[in-house]
Subunit: 662 residues, 2 copies
């Protein structure tokens, strides 16, 4: 690499856009067409902005953009991967629009599609795909967010009338934070404890009309339904979140979304899945696309922030440094490179990791695994990967947007420069579609139980007992440092000293480091769980004591998956400058991930002090080498300039230093 590589921008964008370049371009076109919504978010009052967002979602629906994941026979596009790509790309624009699309087509539409059967599809899909029929997804309650199995809404079957009676049974059992509920939804998919003939069967979903009257948004609450607005939120105020109470609301027997369970007219409950926990998690599992979508949205929102901050750092000068005649560009400061460029590298890494999980999602939901002997395991692995990528992608968004705002100084605080909306709107991404901490626990559970068939039946305590009950060899040995070292020894030079001898820029070394960490941590968690139970400690207390290790292990696992995805991507590229550049980004990503946890590696004998310091030096050096390419690397994301706004900050304004108003 004697000459500096340059970026082939078009080819890099094509690489990032991947299989769904056309779909992404359709969304880009729509975003530009409706770019005014970014300003309307600031100028319209809340009620008017909600209407504007609704109208815009309906208009976008007419272009086919939002219905790609639905079957063609009902007016959809029949391509789940396209649907995920379209949603992700929408995150370049106003995020109320994004979330409204997610609520209507992902959550509401997705529940009808995945949990319902043909009559439900025929009755609702054609109208919901066009947006004529608006609905909401009423799962979360004030008292129960993460622990959905403990919901307090009850649906009792009245065999005489052939109806379900839906009731909010206790304080805090009202539905809460429900998007589309406060103003626009005619229907709700309501999750409630099903009770038939005095017996509880766990949480099921029902289609419940919550507003009367045909005109969307024009209706009043249906009899027995109370609706309250959630009020002002930190962001996403173009989405009408609300609370719902049900006071003996009657719906026909056919309102049960009966793909996984049914109640006969005479009140006989039946399901192909006997275990109620597994039944519930199977239902939830079908809704995994929501998590895939939110993760992708977080990653793409990060791209917008980086595009603004890096482009600004390439024109803003402050303080004399290398020259006495001219102030220094911000991005020529070592510290500024350190702030932004590793985040840029992580964004590329997460983009490719998201491509993998979206691809898996497409494969699983397009029927490609149906009937495979390990179909269930594949589904569970997808759920785990979606949960993990969502957690890392959304935390990455929070961190990146904050860093980019600060890197733009006071200018970053002005609303027109995008960070205001990005920060406020993405904030809840770390919480909704699953709290990130809870999601990482789910990831750990899958790893610790090796996605055993019991997996879905296990709550936290069950998981503790399950792992503690395993023979030592099954978990602890599987993840022992010894075995792992044997495995990596063959891949890397240096034999037992692989971690000292291998080159820092060898991907196999970087992968081995993350794999060692993951397996060592998992083994440690398993050992701790076993020891706690063996010592007679209450399983809940054992869990609490080990919880930070559980989460760290899950995070280590997902970081390994992200790195693997990036390595695979670069390996598959044709030789050329772009491959060289992405290789540098890959090194920066991998080494700064290792650097961030270098204390752990030193504590566990996998990094000497001097090698640890060398890694920090190389991170700095990589930042310096990538700095001339940084502009191209954010341009390659293909965020339409209209989505960046920031005219003055980016020097796109035609102002020449005089006020706009006299």
């Amino acid at each position: 690499m004697s000459t500096d590589p340059s970026v082939d921008l078009a080819a890099l964008t094509a690489l990032l856009d991947g299989r769904y370049a056309e779909v992404r371009d359709l969304v880009r076109t729509n975003l530009v067409k409706y770019a005014s919504v970014l300003e309307e978010a600031e100028t319209l009052d809340r009620a008017a902005f909600r209407e504007r967002v609704r109208d815009l979602v309906v208009e976008m629906a007419a272009t086919g953009q939002t219905g790609m994941g639905f079957p063609e026979q009902y007016g959809g596009g029949g391509d789940i991967g396209a649907s995920l790509a379209a949603f992700e790309t929408l995150a370049f624009g106003d995020l109320s629009v994004l979330v409204k699309v997610g609520v209507q087509f992902g959550l509401f539409g997705g529940a009808i599609l995945q949990l319902g059967t043909e009559p439900h599809h025929a009755a609702y899909l054609p109208d919901l795909i066009t947006g004529r029929l608006m609905g909401c997804f009423a799962m979360t309650e004030t008292g129960h967010g993460s622990n959905v199995q403990a919901l307090g809404t009850v649906a009792t079957y009245d065999a005489e009338a052939g109806e379900f009676v839906i009731t909010t049974t206790e304080p805090d059992a009202n539905k809460d934070y429900i998007g589309n509920a406060a103003a626009h939804a005619e229907l709700a998919v309501v999750f409630a404890q099903l009770e038939v003939a005095g017996e509880r069967h766990g949480v099921h979903a029902f289609v419940v009309p919550i507003r009367t009257g045909a005109g969307p948004g024009a209706g009043k609450p249906a009899p027995g339904v109370s609706i309250e607005d959630d009020g002002l939120k930190m962001g996403l105020n173009g989405v009408d979140n609300g609370r719902l109470w049900f006071d003996h609301v009657r719906v026909p027997r056919e309102a049960l979304l009966n793909r996984f369970a049914d109640v006969s007219e005479d009140g006989t409950y039946s399901s192909d899945i006997d275990n109620p926990d597994r039944r519930f998690f199977t239902m939830l599992g079908t809704l995994v696309q929501g998590r895939v979508c939110v993760g992708g949205a977080g990653i793409n929102a990060s791209k917008v922030a980086l595009a603004v901050a890096i482009r600004y750092a390439l024109r803003r000068r402050q303080f004399e440094a290398t020259s006495q005649d001219q102030e220094e560009l911000l991005l020529d400061y070592g510290q500024h490179q350190r702030r932004l460029l590793p985040l840029l590298a992580h964004t590329y890494a997460l983009h490719f990791a998201q491509e993998v999980v979206a691809g898996e999602c497409h494969r699983v939901f397009s029927g490609e695994v149906d009937g495979d002997p390990d179909e269930q395991k594949q589904r569970r692995e997808l759920e785990s990967r979606a949960a993990g990528t969502k957690a890392l992608g959304t935390w990455h968004a929070t961190r990146t947007i904050q860093e980019c705002r600060e890197a733009c100084g006071g200018a970053g605080y002005l609303a027109e420069n995008r960070f205001t909306a990005l920060k406020a709107d993405t904030d809840v991404f770390t919480t909704f579609e699953g709290d990130n901490t809870v999601l990482l626990q789910l990831v750990a559970k899958g790893l610790l139980t090796d996605y055993a068939s019991e997996f879905e039946e296990l709550d936290q305590l069950g998981m503790v007992r399950y792992v503690a009950g395993l023979a030592v060899e099954t978990v602890v040995e599987r993840t022992s440092a010894h075995n792992l070292l044997e495995r990596v020894r063959d891949l890397l030079p240096g034999g037992d000293e692989w971690d000292q001898e291998a080159g820092l820029f060898d991907s196999a070394y970087q992968q081995a480091m993350l794999q060692f960490r993951e397996e060592h941590m998992l083994g440690g968690v398993a050992r701790r769980l076993k020891r706690g139970i063996d010592e007679g400690v209450n399983p809940g207390e054992v869990f609490s004591l080990v919880q930070d290790h559980v989460i760290h292990a899950a995070r280590a696992h997902v970081e390994r998956l992200v790195l693997d995805a990036f390595v695979d991507k670069v390996d598959a590229m044709e030789d050329g400058d772009n491959k060289v550049v992405l290789g540098m980004l890959l090194d920066l990503h991998a080494l700064s991930v290792i650097e961030a946890d270098r204390a752990w590696f030193m504590e566990h004998g996998r990094l000497t002090a001097s090698r640890s310091k060398a890694i920090s030096r190389e991170v700095n050096a990589l930042c310096r080498r990538l700095r001339p390419l940084a502009g191209d690397l954010v341009d390659a994301f293909g965020v339409p300039p209209e989505m960046l706004r920031s005219a003055e900050l980016l020097g796109l304004s035609d102002r020449t230093g005089s006020p706009r108003t006299a």
Copy 2:
């Protein structure tokens, strides 16, 4: 400690409130009286909210709360420490009110007081203290924020007319982000390059009327002045930030705030300070109170977030854990303790560090150091300490508020639960009154030059050359590990093995660790600077290459000061449960600071792998021990319940699960 200690709440609040308990209580009373402003921030439109905030500031001024730092002869309180305490406490409430107070009384009033002389005081202070006269502080320009010395506004003296002519000379030289400028200020203190008889004398401050007409806010822009609204911001929308352009605006000779320099009628420039850089930094130095205030505000805003999140975690249950009958309280989860309790400990530490810097500020600005042989050094040390505490306090606020929001899940996203405003309003704290990164560079400069008298004349490049030019023994040796080890050896058991032998809970050990780190880092920076220059590298490039070390070293210094302040506080307490409890908090603070940088300590031979792991275990154990005290520890902050809002989240609502509207 066989029995668990309990908190004496009143005594702990008294300890926190310190010398100015009465002042803090006055502010608390005012905050409660005007508590409706927290909702008005959400319900009023921007223009109306600005007026509301202005009115409220004027009403608060009438209670004496905002004028405590001004001399009594003009209607002030004559007590700088009281003024700082009052301002900090105001951060429990709406932060637009806080910042408006800061703009009017701190920046505008402070500039008149500190840079002006008796005629200016007599002319302006009485009316500005009551809020009858509103003003702004016009320093920052679009093109120059951090590098204030390079401002593009020019004030040319016209000897014939005996007037200064103020002009915005180039694009981006307009004043920007100026609080009070868009609507309310009649006067501006304008910072401009002074030019007398063709000679430039550096940046000076001038009183310039920017609006005509007496009625506050009623006036139009004065002739030659153009005003533009900065528009919607991420937060603080009760403050009217704006841009100012000056087109040959004439002000009388007396408009120069002439404490440090003057221009005679015939156009002769004079100043007691010959060096223009030092003159400028002396002027800036008088304005240090602003930084002290912002740091304190960040720390106190963190208390509000912690009060909500910890109280919520003590009533919210989710998932079964230790009991099958009842879900687990959030704060009984190990991970939840890890998220919140170290932040609580850091908040206490920063509170006491802020008390020290505020005390120093009071001492220096109450004339107590005037004429001391090292008066200048004391002033420079105060500036450095203020800069460092501001940087750490405001970054702490950003981090703590974010963590607390996430710890409250979806409920944290609703505006009524305070995080919306806390997050949006405090965001700019890391940038205004000095960008945190730039401030830490200032801290490092002071340390590297030992606050030499040349200190203030040195820009980044000058600093590089200065340090590189020192004899090795002056900086490098002063901070050598060898000397440091000798010093700590006497304090701690274990001789040369002090870092292995001392108890983790020994404050002397904790302090020695942070001191070792700081001095080692500073020595490293000095060596790198010297080496770079010796090798003939461009000083700017040397600086850029070393910049991350510079900032890390400064941070290490400030963290050491924070720890020392906490240790001193606890040492001075009378024996009793409160001392035991604060001692535990101190350990949690110190050990989690060491833990966060344990990689560095391992890299530099001051921590073995096993001791590093032991520290993490002790952090967890301390969280567990402090968990039963967490509620009292946030209550002790004395945040009025009205400032927390969050009625439903905290279980203070009288709702019983039914909707507010049918």
